[in-house]
Symmetry: C2
Subunit: 343 residues, 2 copies
Amino acid sequence: MNLKRLAEELGLSQTTVSRALNGYPEVSEATRKRVEEAARRYNYRPNSRAKGLATGRAMVIGQVIPTSVQHEMVNPIFGDFVAGASQTFSRYGYDMMFSRVPDVDESDIYREYRARGAVDAVILQGPLVNDQRIPLLNRIGLPFIVHGRSTGITEPYAFVDVNNTRAFQHATEFLVHLGHRRIALINGLEGMDFAQRRRAGYEAALKAAGIPVDPALMRSDEMTEYFGYRETRALLAQEDPPTAIMAASMIAALGVRRAIEETGLTMGRDVSVITHDDDLSYLKNGQDVPIFTAIRSSVRKAGEILAQCLVDQINAPDAPPEQRMLEADLLVGRSTGPAPQRT
Amino acid sequence: MNLKRLAEELGLSQTTVSRALNGYPEVSEATRKRVEEAARRYNYRPNSRAKGLATGRAMVIGQVIPTSVQHEMVNPIFGDFVAGASQTFSRYGYDMMFSRVPDVDESDIYREYRARGAVDAVILQGPLVNDQRIPLLNRIGLPFIVHGRSTGITEPYAFVDVNNTRAFQHATEFLVHLGHRRIALINGLEGMDFAQRRRAGYEAALKAAGIPVDPALMRSDEMTEYFGYRETRALLAQEDPPTAIMAASMIAALGVRRAIEETGLTMGRDVSVITHDDDLSYLKNGQDVPIFTAIRSSVRKAGEILAQCLVDQINAPDAPPEQRMLEADLLVGRSTGPAPQRT
DNA sequence: CCCGGTATCCAAAGCGCTTTGAAAACGATT
DNA sequence: AATCGTTTTCAAAGCGCTTTGGATACCGGG
C-alpha cells in the first residue's frame, strides 16, 4: 500500500492524505479522521526512502565502529549504551545505524555518510586526546556528538561525558583517608581521553596529599579482564607493592580481584580496590551491598541523555553545542578498608 | 554533488554516468574511465535514499532490541556479535540498523519494517522455544535469519547456531570421567531455546552415565554475574552439594568463581567448573592457559557467518534457507580436576 | 448581491537515482 | 553507396513521498 493508492481509495489527492497524516492544519478534522482510519485499516506506512528523499532527512543516526583492536574496549559497554540511546531515539522516530570500517578509513566514512546523505548525525565513540575526527566532522558539516571529550580540541562541539577527573580524584582521596599511600592505577589506553582525565584526578589527589606519583604504580592498556589480572600480579610481586588499586572498569577489576586472590591475599583487607562501574545490566556490582567500592555512572543513562542532546541539536542546528557533564557517585562496597600496617 | 550535475559537468547524460559507475557493459572503457575519474574528483556518492527508492533495496539489515528485561542477556555478547556481522555486511555494502521497542510491540515493528521498506532483511536474536516471531516473519515475507534456533517451529527458516546440546553433553561427560556425580547446571532463562538444548545435553550425559537428574542442582535465570554467584552460594550451602558446576556463560562463571572462593573452597580442586565461553574480545578466558575449562564458540565468528548466510539469502531468495551449525571446542583449563573424595 | 477572507482541497513539480526504449554513431559487409 | 549489426549514448518515465502555488467552496459583512 502506498500514498497514491490510499489516496485513490479515499477519493482524495495525495496532497491531502499526506497532510492529514502529517498533522498539517489545512485539512478538516472530518477528513483527517477518515484518512487516519483508512491508513490504519490498510496498515499504511510511508516508505522511508521516499519520505527521506522528499524531506532531505534520513531519520537515521550513524555510528562508526573502527575495526582496530585499539577500540575494542568500546565493546563491553556497547550493548548498554545502544540500549539507552536507541530508547530515546526511537521516541523521536530515529533509527540507529552502524558501519564498521578499517580505522584508516574512518574519516572517509564520515565523508561518505555526508555525500550519500545516509545519516542526519553521528555519534563519536571513544574520543582520543586531540581527536582529529572532531575538526573533520565540523569541517564537512556533519552534525555529531561525542561520547566523552577530547582534550586539545579548542573548537566547539557537543558532548556528554562523565566527570572522570573529579570521580577519580574523590576515589583516590577516599583511599588516602583510609591511610593508603601506595595506590596503583590500572588505567585504559593512554591515548584515550578518559584515561588521561582519570590519571589527572588520581595524580591531583596524590599531590594534594603529598604522596609522590610513582610511575611504577601506573599501568594502562585495553581494559580487559586479563589486563587487570596481569598487571595486578606484577604490581603485587614488586617490592613495596601497592595497598590499594584503582581500576578503570568492572571488567578489569574482575581480573584485579582474581590476581589478589590467587596471590593469597584478601581484597578489602590486604589490598583495597576501587573501580569505575558503568552499571552494565549484565554485570551489576552486587545486588544489595556493592562487591566493589566503585565510582558508578550508568552508561545506559549516558546513552539516553546523549541521544536527547543530539535530537535537540538536529532540531536547532544553530544553537550552541550542548555539553553535558555527568557526575559519578562513589559507592562504598566491601573491596576497600583501612591500609594494612607495614610489617 | 549529484548525478545530474556530474553528468552536466561531463557533458554526458545521467544514464551514461550511472551506468559507467555501476559497471554496466554498454559504456565504452574510455568514458567509464573519464566518469570514474570525475566522480572521484568531485567526491561523488550516489544518494542512498534516491538509489534505494529507484532500486527498491534498502541495503540495510535490521535488528530489533526488545526493551524487556527478559532479553538483557543479549547485551554482553551484542558488541562482539555486531562487530563480526557488520564486518561481513560492510563488504557487501550493507549497513546494520537497530530499533528498540517495548517487547509487546515487537511484531509490529516487523510489519512496519516491511511496510516502510526500511530494511532488506532482519536478524532475530535470542530465540525462544516455539518462537512466534518466526512464523510472523515468514507470513509477512520479510527475509530473516535466526541467531540460534527455535524448537517447536516446523516451518523452514534460516539460522546459525552453536551445537549447544552436543557441547554440553561433551562437557558433562568430561566431568563424569573425572569422577563427578553431583554436577550442577547454572543455565540461562528456561524460555530461551539455547537453555533447553544445553539442559538436554547435560541430562543426556547424566542419563548415559546412570546418574539421576536432580532438579535441586539445576538453576536458570538471566545470565548475570550475580546470578552465578547467588546460585553457587545456595548450591554449596545445601547438603550433598555439587562437586562440579556447569555455567552457561563466562559472566555467570565469574560469579560462580566468586562464590566458590568466598565459601573458602578452591576452584578446580574442591569444585570443578566448566563454562560456555563466547570468546568475547574483552573477556578472554586467560591468555595462554584458559582460566576456565570451557566450551568455546566465538560469537563474533558466528556474526560473520550469519551475515554471509543472510546476504546469500537476499541474493538468492528462492534457495532453501541456509542452516548452519557451529561446533564448540572443549578447552581444558585450570577450573576442573578429579572429583574430591567423599569425607 | 458582491467582495474579501478563510477553510479545504488539488495538480504538478521536485527530491536523486535507475532503467526502459529508442536514437545516433560507427564499422563492416554487400 | 546502401545496408546491417554493434556499440555507445540519450531522453524520459518512474520509484513514493513532500510541498508549492493555485483553485474551489463557503462564510459573514458591507
